[in-house]
Symmetry: C2
Subunit: 247 residues, 2 copies
């Protein structure tokens, strides 16, 4: 099974949650296909993804939503769960049990932050347009910027201090560091003013993000066409009216 | 380390997310202490919990929020992560790897549903009172009842059909079944009208909940003073004005 290539299924036009999986695969230089971005003639496209979501993935339980990973007969959904599966295989988490649980704990906390960042523009329902929930979004985003960004980033900054100052888990790069880079760069895209205000109390996080972006495989990926640009159809969106000064 | 007793840290007056851990420990008949509910004279109380949250838990990384579990030198936070650690030790998940990842996937999906259920009464911010976000709550809850409850419960119902019809993972009770019971009973407490409407399309889930409640250790727990009553200070709240008819 470890010889099978990894098949990632995610929306083909956004970074979204799938990007956390893409970054891990890219850092490791693992052979993978980003199935929904392949042409239909090669068995790809959104239709191939929808087929598995509707239960056409063999014996495995169909996922509720993308991203999901197909690896041999296994179909694994939920971003943190995909990374829990991949990280040991890709050498992106230490071997010892305390480190594995620390990594998963931090990953789930990152997932919580990502969900809240999404809700800044969709606080009422994902099935409504942003334009149909703008007053609620403004209220939500103000609380997110004033309370939640400092709370989460303060926690991750302390987590770096608790470790070696350069890695969230152990003494080498892990999938959690890659996810943290993605969240920091996405928050900076969405909320440049708010992030500028918090930067002085998130120095280690800033340095971690820079060091991840400079890693050879990640730098090559970010410069490639495989890296999709951020946009206002994505999980993190830049709406200037939501990006207030925290103070 | 496996000889150490389990120490659960969670708010002492609500079921909340801690209840998913309590149910697993109770089903297994594992020796544990619910530390914040113990008297201060026995080293318990909220003060003992706050001490660990502020980093007084030895070498381990301090959690961001309750619940967390202390087991020997390990301090583990994030509900799904605590259960990932406990379930194999308590015999509440099958041994094989596909089942473990299926269980974690379903558990994370339950956690998503729980977070959305919380947001029905706190759609803008957890730091504001419900009374300060009532119009937004009404809008959020309507979407939750019309779209999200059917989507999530439909998925879990199909997951039961995909298995043996009685268990979400494998052929014996797992921590995911216990969590599903907690979510079904909490949703029924919070949204009795909405849940009555969805019941005909969630028959296997209804049967699963009944069978969990009837298990000897769980029945004894539910009848004991250890089981806290639901309330409007909890994660799931019954506000009649939010419990609309879905159709």
């Amino acid at each position: 099974m470890s010889e099978s290539p990894y098949e990632l299924y995610y929306w083909p036009t956004i970074q979204g949650r799938g990007e956390l999986v893409r970054l891990a695969l890219e850092e490791a230089g693992a052979p993978y296909s980003d199935v929904a971005r392949l042409p239909a003639a090669k068995g790809g496209g959104v239709a191939a993804m929808m087929k598995l979501l509707r239960g056409g993935g063999g014996e495995a339980l169909a996922p509720l939503a993308p991203p999901f990973l197909k690896h041999g007969p296994l179909v694994i959904a939920q971003t943190a769960n995909i990374l829990l599966y991949l990280a040991p295989r890709l050498g992106l988490v230490p071997d010892d049990e305390p480190a594995r649980f620390r990594a998963n704990q931090l990953m789930l906390t990152i997932a919580d932050l990502v969900a809240e960042a999404h809700d800044t523009h969709h606080p009422i329902s994902s099935s409504l347009h942003y334009e149909d929930q703008k007053p609620e979004a403004a209220r939500y985003a103000a609380c997110f910027i004033r309370e939640r960004i400092p709370k989460f980033l303060g926690y991750f900054e302390r987590s770096l201090e608790h470790g070696d100052g350069e890695h969230l888990v152990g003494k080498a790069v892990s999938y959690v560091d890659l996810a943290m880079f993605q969240v920091m760069s996405s928050l900076t895209y969405a909320f440049p003013r708010a992030m500028a205000a918090v930067a002085p109390s998130a120095r280690l996080l800033g340095r971690l993000s820079d060091s991840i972006a400079a890693r050879p495989n990640i730098a090559a990926y970010l410069a490639s066409e495989r890296r999709l640009p951020p946009s206002e159809n994505d999980l993190f969106r830049h709406y200037p009216e939501l990006d207030i000064e925290p103070a």
